[in-house]
């Protein structure tokens, strides 16, 4: 950056100073050096302002609110809500108290859900991408079909799944029970223990096409010569996948897994459309849990504190993940 900046600024400043005669009077007072420094920031200003407005300011307010006891009595004049110090946080992290216990339960459910969903999405996405690496008739069509779940609007897709999961009239039980006779009784999918698996199934269905898409793009960059050379050396398909495909996909995977993790962990739409405002205990994802803690029970301070804790957790995971994966990559490169 430092190496390329000066010549670029100089060339930009050159024609400019020649054209604008009106501003010429003012120009000499500003030292050339400062102008060089200021220009990039001036250009960045619109983006920065929007970033602030859309991301940073709401986040700061969220953090601010987490230190207030903002209940329904204060939402009308929310700046006058009393400061709560760390009370909201204390309540959230006291894992032997009911509210903390519920949050912790929800946290573990979310971890299990995320690990399963990301793992399966990645596995299916990778398998599909590798299988479709070679050209064959109908590949384009299959690719397009595979991407459908990713392209569908979330609400329409998930509500359809909800209908299919209905105990009495749903397609899933019709196939499992009426047609295949796999289960002796019609199981429930939207309440009780199975609701967790229903959630995982819908989530995987929804997110594996993204993994497929990203990995497919990654595969395009692997030179064919590598495979040819490996084949000459007598490497089988599995060895080619293990020794060539997977290492070459590492940079893609690094980003892909992280993005999938963050999306899945924070997913709100899927559980909300499937279960409405009160998710079953076994499928009580943290996003819905926090929504309940703030919007349904009108305790925005407590909900914000939980959100901040979630943010800290995700930051930590992301940092550790990037540190580990980058180091490993660094080792590999060296």
């Amino acid at each position: 950056m430092t190496a390329t900046a000066p010549p670029r600024s100089a060339s930009e400043a050159g024609p400019d100073s020649g054209k604008s005669a009106g501003r010429g009077r003012l120009r000499p007072r500003i030292p050339q050096r400062l102008r060089n420094i200021a220009l990039p920031y001036l250009l960045l200003l619109p983006a920065l302002a929007l970033e602030l407005l859309i991301h940073i300011v709401p986040m700061v307010f969220g953090i601010l609110i987490s230190f207030k006891s903002l209940t329904l009595f204060y939402i009308r004049h929310w700046s006058s809500a009393p400061w709560a110090g760390f009370d909201n946080y204390k309540i959230a992290v006291k894992i032997h108290q009911p509210i903390g216990q519920a949050l912790l339960h929800s946290f573990w459910v979310t971890i299990a859900f995320t690990v399963l969903s990301v793992g399966l999405s990645w596995l299916i996405g990778t398998a599909a991408a590798i299988l479709m690496q070679d050209t064959f008739r109908g590949r384009a069509l299959l690719r397009a079909i595979f991407l459908v779940p990713y392209a569908l609007p979330v609400y329409a897709a998930v509500i359809t799944w909800t209908f299919m999961f209905q105990q009495n009239t749903g397609l899933v039980n019709h196939v499992l029970h009426d047609q295949l006779h796999v289960t002796s009784d019609k199981p429930f999918w939207l309440i009780g223990g199975n609701s967790f698996w229903a959630l995982v199934i819908v989530s995987v269905w929804k997110s594996w096409p993204f993994a497929f898409l990203a990995l497919m793009a990654g595969l395009q960059n692997i030179p064919r010569e590598l495979y040819e050379a490996a084949a000459m050396d007598g490497a089988g398909v599995w060895q080619q996948i293990r020794k060539i495909t997977m290492p070459s996909l590492r940079p893609v995977n690094q980003v892909l897994v992280l993005v999938l993790f963050l999306w899945t962990f924070n997913d709100f739409n899927t559980p909300y459309v499937m279960f409405g405002q009160s998710a079953p205990h076994q499928a009580d994802l943290i996003s819905i849990h926090i929504y309940q803690s703030s919007f349904i029970t009108w305790n925005f301070g407590s909900g914000s504190a939980m959100s901040v804790l979630l943010l800290l957790f995700l930051l930590l995971v992301t940092a550790v993940y990037l540190l580990i994966t980058s180091r490993r990559r660094g080792d590999a490169d060296a």
Partner: protein, 440 residues
């Protein structure tokens, strides 16, 4: 050079941040209301709740009435019909920002909660005078428009009550009469549960429905969910027994196991298609008809009590259900808004609107209209007048609905999965709900 840049960037960010915060704090609405002057040419925004079969249906019902109002007063009303899933969040957002509608519908169980936010215009004596007086309304409906001892935060617009709907043919075939006590209902329901048909249907995954029923069942045992100071008392023996009695409909097989996941009014479908012989519902005539069952095929009686002919709390058979009409306190058109409230609660409008929605007018004068003299509405109107009690009008009502409603839903799920639901498991569930209630 690089440190310079970092410094410059940081300073910039900080400066922008400060200005943005300052802007955020400054947008304060003075809330000065236009009073005294002419209201002609004013435009009001009205948020209507979804009362008809669809949002469009609501627009069709309301638009001609709003035109009528405009002809009479010169006040234009901009209508927005909002679905139930969004309404409360929209109101909360409007409350926080101060940028809301002038007049709005609220579920009457939200009255005390919204009253506590201070976002709604209190109906004190002068505001009541402006709309034609407080005594035009049924007292039970007024009692569900805000906390006791305070000026109501709303006025009742549409009233509804629960009744026990029963399938006449199924009852006649089994040689039964509609039940008046729970013991009778249980016997009847067991008799009617044969060959894929069930005695009764319940909406197990709908938290609000769950609350409405366990409220009545507890009330009949003389128990409330809050004490006089507004503290939750979820775990009393009577409340445990009430919840267990309700969940036992599935546990005892009187209702289909699948009812545990009902949340989209499948109960009405089951009743109208003859899958279930009974259901407890509020003003269901329109929906039943939409599913192809004619009014002569079913009857409505009050929901049973623990002992026959019970009176007082023991004789409560329904919550006071209904929709209230509120004026947003930060409105700039208070006079016009009150004129609109007066119009909507006028006797002719009450007749038209309540007849269109199949509800009962909370304005007593309008109740004599022939539209409300159908057998089912007569029963429900009498329930509303004699044996209906408002849900707890406390600020934490919505937390109660969420937490206890969810607890009952989970207990239904247990019952449907064949797990035994005992006094102990009900109590544990209610204890958990209570411990998550915010201190108030």
């Amino acid at each position: 050079m690089r440190t310079n840049r970092v410094f410059a960037a940081t300073a910039l960010v900080a400066a922008l941040g400060l200005t943005a915060t300052a802007c955020g704090g400054g947008s304060n609405d003075s809330g000065g209301s236009k009073s005294g002057g002419s209201t002609k040419g004013v435009t009001l925004t009205y948020w209507a709740s979804n009362q008809g079969t669809s949002l469009d249906n609501d627009k069709q019902v309301l638009t001609p009435e709003l035109k009528k109002f405009e002809q009479q007063t010169g006040i234009h009303v901009k209508l927005e019909v909002i679905g139930w899933a969004d309404l409360l969040n929209r109101i909360l957002a409007a409350t926080t920002s101060g940028q809301g509608p002038d007049v709005l519908n609220i579920g009457n169980t939200w009255s005390a909660s919204l009253q506590a936010t201070g976002a709604l215009l209190p109906f004190d004596s002068s505001n009541f005078a402006a709309i034609g007086g407080k005594d035009r309304f049924a007292p039970s409906a007024i009692a569900s428009a805000g906390a006791a001892g305070q000026d109501p935060a709303a006025v009742p617009l549409y009233s509804m009550a629960y009744g026990l709907y029963y399938n006449k043919k199924m009852f006649a075939d089994a040689g039964l009469k509609p039940p008046t006590t729970w013991a009778e209902l249980d016997t009847d329901a067991k008799k009617l549960t044969t060959g894929g048909h069930y005695g009764i249907a319940v909406e197990g995954s709908n938290g609000s429905e769950n609350i409405h029923h366990v409220f009545v069942l507890a009330k009949q045992r003389g128990s409330n969910w809050f004490d006089s100071s507004g503290k939750p008392t979820f775990t009393t023996d009577a409340n445990v027994a009430a919840v267990k009695q309700y969940v036992d409909f599935i546990a005892d097989g009187e209702a289909a196991k699948g009812d545990a996941e009902y949340a989209q009014n499948q109960t009405i479908t089951d009743f109208a298609t003859g899958k279930a012989a009974m259901m407890m519902w509020q003003s269901a005539a329109t929906s039943i008809k939409a599913h192809g069952m004619t009014p002569d095929q079913y009857g409505v009686v009050p929901v049973p009590t623990q002992t026959a002919g019970a009176t007082g709390d023991a004789g409560v058979t329904s919550m006071v259900a209904g929709i209230n009409l509120s004026v947003f306190k930060s409105t700039k058109n208070k006079d016009a808004a009150l004129k609109f409230v007066k119009f909507m609660t006028s006797t002719p409008e009450q007749k038209i609107l309540n007849a269109a929605y199949g509800s009962i007018p909370p304005v007593t004068e309008a109740q004599n209209d022939p539209a409300f003299q159908t057998p089912d509405l007569k029963v429900l109107a009498s329930v509303l007048g004699k044996s209906a009690a408002p849900l707890p009008q406390v600020p934490n009502e919505s937390q109660f609905e969420t937490l206890v409603g969810t607890a009952v839903k989970d207990l239904f799920a247990d019952a449907a999965a064949g797990k035994s639901v005992t006094d102990a498991s009900v109590k544990a569930a209610l204890q958990k709900a209570q411990s998550q209630m915010p201190p108030s």
